[in-house]
């Protein structure tokens, strides 16, 4: 019960952060796909940096144990197809599952429509699951991480991702300042 309360609190805070960043606004999100608005990229990069550095340093300082974290398993082909379907839905509706909840909570009808589509999709996949199960479980690669893929030490991967992310954020800031 306590875990549920904590999860609820974190979910609410996540929703508030998304709304504050303006990600409940479909044109803003769709703008990312047309390279007009980089808010999504900025939010994603800063969230990834915060989480990655938090996990690394939290683990190093003994505040948490990263080895106990769940890393979802990679099924290459089905996840590629899933990613394409997800991206298509994203650009069509201007919302993803998380931001559709935020949009609905802030009174946007697009949020309700996207959530309806989301649940319809979940239902359809559930009903069709016996037929697609073999594809769903095809090309398994276990829990893949950049560290395992590249063979580099964890700290080096953290440094490289940080450099790439900060460089991209700096480039976006420069581009926005020039406008």
């Amino acid at each position: 019960m306590n875990d549920l309360l904590i999860a609820g609190g974190i979910g609410m805070a996540f929703g508030c952060a998304l709304e504050c960043a303006g990600l409940g606004d479909p044109p803003k999100l769709a703008g990312q796909f047309y390279l007009r608005d980089f808010t999504v990229l900025k939010v994603m990069l800063s969230a990834m940096l915060t989480a990655m550095l938090g996990v690394f340093w939290g683990g190093r300082l003994g505040m948490l144990d990263p080895s106990t974290f769940y890393v979802p398993e990679t099924y290459l082909l089905p996840q590629l197809v899933g990613g394409l379907v997800f991206g298509l839905g994203f650009v069509l509706s201007g919302l993803c599952p998380g931001t559709s909840c935020v949009a609905l909570a802030s009174g946007r009808i697009e949020g309700a429509a996207t959530m309806l589509g989301l649940f319809a999709g979940v239902l359809l996949v559930g009903l069709a699951f016996p037929a697609i199960e073999s594809f769903y479980r095809s090309t398994p690669h276990g829990p893949l991480t950049l560290q395992h893929l590249t063979g580099l030490p964890y700290g080096v991967v953290v440094a490289l991702v940080t450099v790439v992310a900060v460089s991209m954020l700096a480039w976006i800031a420069k581009r926005e300042a020039a406008r």
Partner: protein, 194 residues
């Protein structure tokens, strides 16, 4: 803008310092702790009976995770309710939350015992295995022998647990032929795998 720049430099400093501070976790433990393994075996805290496992499943013990380490084909053939299939070659790549009670089983227990040692080597100390595996489950839960000299309460308890999982208890000592036949059936069930 100044705050954002400071945050950016802060992140960059933390990121660039990461390669020089070693592993991400001080608590990560790998390798066999032979003393603790010997202690667990000696105390019997390394295993759990099929009947005890049945009670845990029935009582919805919080954090219980039952893992079948056999092949997917064997798992689809017959498995303990609520179990998930995680063949032994995938164990090392899996993650286990510290608040979970991991229960491993195989066909007859040998592979589950080996999987238990593997998990200990991975630093997972909250795991147990079912020594007789699925064969014990069938004998002790699905068709348990009700002791002829047991108290009515004890017999009712065993029968109730068996009925919960759709099993049918056998009456001990009532029909010797039937019991002998059942024992033979049970021996037949222990025919393959580990």
């Amino acid at each position: 803008m100044r705050l954002m720049r400071r945050l950016g430099f802060g992140a960059l400093a933390l990121g660039l310092a990461a390669p020089f501070v070693g592993g991400p976790s001080r608590t990560q433990q790998r390798g066999l702790d032979l003393d603790s393994i010997a202690r667990a075996i000696d105390e019997g805290s390394d295993h759990v009976s099929a009947r005890q496992l049945a009670e845990w499943i029935r009582d919805r013990r919080p954090g219980l995770r039952v893992i079948d380490v056999r092949s997917p084909a064997e798992f689809h053939d017959d498995a303990i309710p609520t179990a998930e299939n995680l063949p032994i070659d995938q164990l090392a790549r899996s993650r286990f939350a510290p608040d979970q009670t991991i229960v491993l089983y195989s066909q007859e227990g040998a592979h589950a015992g080996q999987a238990w040692v593997m998990l200990r080597a991975l630093g997972v100390t909250h795991a147990v295995f079912v020594p007789g595996g699925l064969a014990d489950w069938r004998e002790e839960v699905m068709s348990p022998l009700l002791p002829a000299n047991g108290s009515p309460a004890e017999r009712a308890q065993i029968a109730e647990l068996s009925h919960y999982f759709g099993g049918s208890p056998r009456i001990g000592g009532e029909q010797e032929g039937e019991v002998a036949g059942a024992a033979q059936t049970a021996r037949g069930l222990r025919r393959r795998g580990c």
